[in-house]
């Protein structure tokens, strides 16, 4: 056997092993397999969603469908109704003749639900870790670090660790949203 022939045989064998290995690695994974996600409470999300709309959801920030984190609400981006199922809303809250919200975070098709899904889906495995840990380490989540100014953030630091806005967001991750902190933050911050 020549050296050239030997190389060809070795290459073919390696290719065959790779194909068999790849097939074997896929064979045990069901076609409908999904990453498991331990979600934070959707029923507790409304005060947090409203605060995020107020503080982060302006049209030139996260009220923009091209962001990784997209925030919907009356102060910024409105959720377009699916299949023309409802009226097209434009930015504006009730105080200016608009509509404050389209429904609860537990109801698909609402703005709070869309914001909730966007936020939870940002880092699903990390979110699961944080929620499973009882919200003890919210700083594992990028959105918390960015808001605190711990990570680079185009919008700068939004709140301080431990202030009312931070308490609002982090308490939600523990399973019991601090609604007092949320409402205080909503009414006292720019």
């Amino acid at each position: 056997m020549t050296a050239k022939h030997a190389l060809s045989v070795a290459g073919a064998a390696a290719f065959a092993v790779a194909i068999v290995g790849a097939a074997a690695s896929c064979a045990d994974v069901p076609a409908d397999a999904r990453i498991g996600l331990t979600e934070p409470s959707a029923t507790q999300f409304a005060p947090v969603g409203n605060l995020l709309d107020h503080r982060c959801g302006s049209l030139d920030c996260h009220g923009n469908a091209r962001r990784n984190l997209v925030i919907y609400g009356c102060e910024g981006l409105r959720l377009e109704p699916a299949d023309d199922a409802g009226p097209l809303l434009t930015p504006g809250c009730r105080s200016s003749g608009g509509t404050d919200t389209t429904g609860p975070a537990t109801q698909p098709g609402t703005e709070l639900y869309a914001t909730y899904r966007s936020l939870v889906g940002l880092e699903p495995t990390v979110m699961s870790e944080v929620v499973t840990g009882g919200g003890a380490h919210p700083e594992l989540l990028t959105f918390i670090r960015k808001a605190r100014g711990w990570d680079a953030h185009k919008g700068g630091q939004i709140w301080d660790a431990g202030d009312t806005s931070d308490d609002c967001a982090t308490s939600w991750l523990t399973g019991t949203t601090d609604t007092t902190a949320c409402s205080t933050a909503l009414t006292t911050t720019p």
Binding site: C56, S58, L59, D60, N64, E75, L77, L88, T90, P91
Partner: protein, 193 residues
């Protein structure tokens, strides 16, 4: 090795030209990265050519001013906040050229409570340079003229161009152009020009 590559490799191997070549390539790449921004160039191009004369305080009402006046050119004058105020919503009167609102007072207040008052010119345009006003975002804005006034319900997060968000027609992602219904009959002069 193919015959055509052999002389080239020999040339590279026996000279110091690869070093010079590498420096030139790295330098050109850096220069390209520093001075060429295709995204910004596309944004500028999307505004279209100048119409109705030369650039000046009255030009391009309703466009996002800071695309050109934001420090990346092509305009040399830099603004921190700028925009256009209309007397009625431009899309409310199809076929009628939008009417800029002259003499309106625009009040801006930033998150440190630093404010500034600006006036609109004949095109409805207003602008302020970073030297005059460098806001700490977010920024709150209101517009008034006579007894009419309007205040933004939300805030401006970080973009000083009104028209970055205020785009006609109104949609889920835009409240439409900035306008102020101005009732001239409420003015002491009875709306005289």
């Amino acid at each position: 090795m193919t015959p055509t590559l052999a002389p080239v490799l020999a040339w590279l191997r026996h000279t110091r030209r690869p070093i010079v070549l590498a420096i030139v390539v790295v330098g050109a790449t850096c220069a390209f990265a520093c001075f060429v921004n295709p995204i910004h160039d596309q944004e500028v191009a999307a505004l279209g050519p100048e119409t109705g004369g030369s650039p000046g305080p009255l030009h391009r009402p309703g466009q996002p001013c800071l695309v050109c006046h934001g420090g990346m050119g092509p305009a040399s004058q830099v603004f921190s906040v700028a925009g256009t105020i209309y007397s009625v919503r431009p899309s409310a009167e199809p076929g009628v050229p939008p009417s800029g609102l002259q003499g309106a007072a625009v009040e801006l207040v930033d998150s440190h409570d630093a404010g500034i008052g600006l006036g609109t010119n004949a095109a409805g345009n207003f602008y302020v340079s970073p030297g005059e006003y460098e806001p700490y975002w977010p920024l709150h804005a209101s517009v008034s003229l006579g007894t009419s006034s309007a205040t933004m319900i939300g805030h401006i997060g970080r973009n000083g161009s009104c028209a970055y968000c205020h785009v006609e027609p109104a949609s889920a992602s835009s409240p439409g152009a900035v306008y102020l219904y101005y009732d001239q009959s409420s003015e002491p002069d009875g709306g005289a020009p």
